[in-house]
Symmetry: C2
Subunit: 419 residues, 2 copies
């Protein structure tokens, strides 16, 4: 049986436009990955009548309802109460949830107020989905052929809770089939080019399915197979990935790899390589993205953000004549920046970035979005010229893609890109 | 009369979770700012029956419906057709829209295919809202006391179109009143503390209204007034802001200021001050955030990301004995890092950050989230100890807040924080 789900996010802050609805995206994405269709997403505030109407509408058209938000300790939070009203379920105190809440506050050394115990109320015919990052547990009620999941609102609570507690339940709705997905990480080729190259393969394949997603200047190809066992599904996927490699292999930097920065941190650490960075137009974005990965200190020691020419000369040793003759935005300056930071730090590998991030500062000869990157490793040098110019408002996009390209170049020069 | 609006976003990519629904946030935010309540946001795919049901439901409960998406040239795009079906409006070719489409393609030097002319079909009883960033115009139909706006999906089209073409119409729905909002930017005090301090003031004030929003570790207080003229509304707001200053004045860093980094770039540039940064646990996040602001090069020359002790000594001149005796995470090291980068760069002001971003590396004495920051300006030094430890997964949050605090310290030491 094909299942359909609806996502109902509860929160006035969403209706006021104060926050982005990352939960709807996250949940939809996860459901799509396991083949459950989502036809409607809705957002309502903490208002009894409108919330009740939304729950009733959803239950009239799908068999899986997932709510997020409105499980907090205050009087405003009414998701649980309203769902139970619609389902005809009673709320009762759950002792183990109560203990969890008390110990949660103890661990943090914060005082617990009485209203927090409201979160220990659970539907008597429901199941508790333990939340390790907050005091409101997730809840599940199975009734009248429907599954209703009530999940907390904060992304840092709902995301791990969904993956750990909800996904295993949903994956087993159809017990005779399992669904497995793997993501292929592609950098250096746009979504439309990937799609054009792979079109025949994508159209001729319905198990596994192959679907491309553009994400932050990268392309993610999701390969999903359905089979009787997990190992059979995995084997189908691996066969399909081998086929895909024939078309776009040189742009694949990982399978189920989280990001370029995670790839460089993990692979350099494994090989015992160290990296240093010299950045101009990215202003520290490369080092920021590398150091956001836990454990980066094992392979990253030094980044220099040499925004001015003076610092390029003084700290990185770029020659005055080079800056005079070719300008700060030039392959020659990129080269000397990479050499300079390597010398300064004694790292095995270095990368540099210099360019025009915009919105101003472009000329006909050197337009906004022109970026030079350079990498050094032993006696090797690799350089790239990037043309990232798009519309006037995309300074941060130029900076982001330039940083991605620099990290990719560090992987390429060490032979770790397609590793 | 009080108006209510509903936002209906059309797009399969939203239901698949491939993209974040930034349009719902943007539109809700804009509507809230002019006092129009949004009680429901919905998302449906490009499916005739579900789209029709969503339009009918929305029109049964609000007087302003705003759709985004589904105005493109392909057969999939059916928003316009379905809205017109529900409203009983005919679609007819509009010559001026057709000319715009043709000239749009000419300007970009791209070939136009026949299906693009589908975008020149407009409701015969409707109004065309010119879209300067794409080929699909926005459309408005006024019927049966309802306003239905159909807007394009891409954020870079809908956002300017809304501000230029839709906002003036909505602001004049109640021609006798205008609404004005100002945002107070607060850093260094949590949302609940701000709320507790301002509660009496917020409750006793319904024109202007005062509403707090937490955002990226900051608090935004939105003050909204309604009056006969804009200057009357502004005067009401300014009076309220003066009252608010009495309670939380020392934490207010701006009015309608976009971010801490924009404040530091603008204020330092105006005063002719230059800044340099020395970062350890933030790994370049401070310099990244400063250089994401256009024009940062006027006040920012140099950032050093000294992740390793060796680089702290070699590049920044932190003394070996200091690192030995107090450790890399210590106020003493923060102090020498700030001095070091100032000496290196010759900047007027410097800030430094050193701490434990986690998830590993914490001890009982120096737990995850312990961060020391230091700023120098002329003969002045300011230091702060931050305790940002929360759950295990929040490395990036610790780094973000530490970077915010460092930028705020640069503002404080120069007397520019409350400027």
């Amino acid at each position: 049986m094909k299942h359909t789900a609806e996502i109902l996010c509860v929160g006035t802050e969403l209706l006021l436009g104060d926050i982005l609805n990352t939960n709807a995206k996250f949940l939809s994405n996860e459901l799509a990955a396991i083949g459950i269709d989502v036809y409607n997403q809705s957002v309502v505030g903490d208002n009894h009548d409108r919330l009740k109407a939304a729950i009733e509408l959803a239950l009239s058209r799908v068999d899986i309802l997932i709510t997020s938000g409105g499980l907090g300790p205050t009087l405003d939070d009414i998701t649980k109460e309203t769902v139970c009203e619609v389902l005809g379920s009673n709320l009762v105190y759950d002792e183990s949830v109560k203990e969890n809440i008390i110990s949660f506050f103890k661990r943090r050394g914060r005082p617990m107020t009485e209203n927090n115990l409201k979160q220990a109320l659970v539907p008597e015919d429901g199941e508790v989905l333990y939340n390790e990052n907050g005091t409101a547990p997730g809840l599940l009620v199975r009734k009248n052929g429907k599954l209703v999941f009530m999940l907390p609102g904060p992304p840092r609570e709902i995301e791990p809770l969904f993956v750990k507690m909800v996904l295993p339940i949903l994956k087993n709705i159809n017990p005779d089939r399992v669904l497995v997905s793997k993501n292929i990480n592609i950098f250096g080729m746009g979504e439309s080019s990937v799609e054009a190259l792979l079109k025949p393969l994508m159209e001729s394949s319905d198990n596994p399915t192959v679907a491309p997603y553009a994400k932050d200047g990268e392309v993610l190809l999701r390969v999903t197979a359905s089979a009787a066992t997990e190992s059979q599904a995995s084997a189908l996927i691996d066969g399909k990935i081998d086929e895909i490699r024939k078309f776009v292999g040189e742009y694949i930097y990982g399978i189920d790899e989280n990001s370029l920065q995670r790839a460089v941190v993990e692979r350099f650490t494994k090989r015992g390589l160290t990296l240093s960075t010299a950045e101009s137009c990215t202003g520290g974005y490369v080092s920021k993205r590398i150091t956001e990965i836990p454990g980066a200190s094992a392979m990253f020691g030094c980044g220099v953000c040499s925004y001015s020419n003076e610092i390029k000369e003084k700290v990185l040793g770029v020659r005055h004549e080079t800056l005079e003759k070719y300008g700060a935005v030039s392959p020659q300056t990129a080269d000397e920046m990479a050499s300079g930071v390597m010398k300064l730090s004694g790292s095995d590998v270095s990368v540099s970035v210099t360019g025009i991030a915009g919105p101003d500062g472009g000329t006909d000869e050197k337009p906004v979005g022109l970026v030079y990157i350079c990498a050094k490793f032993k006696d090797k040098t690799m350089s790239e010229t990037l043309n990232l110019g798009r519309t006037k408002n995309e300074r941060q996009f130029v900076q982001y893609l330039a940083a991605s390209s620099a990290i990719a170049l560090a992987l390429k020069i060490t032979g770790e890109f397609n590793a």
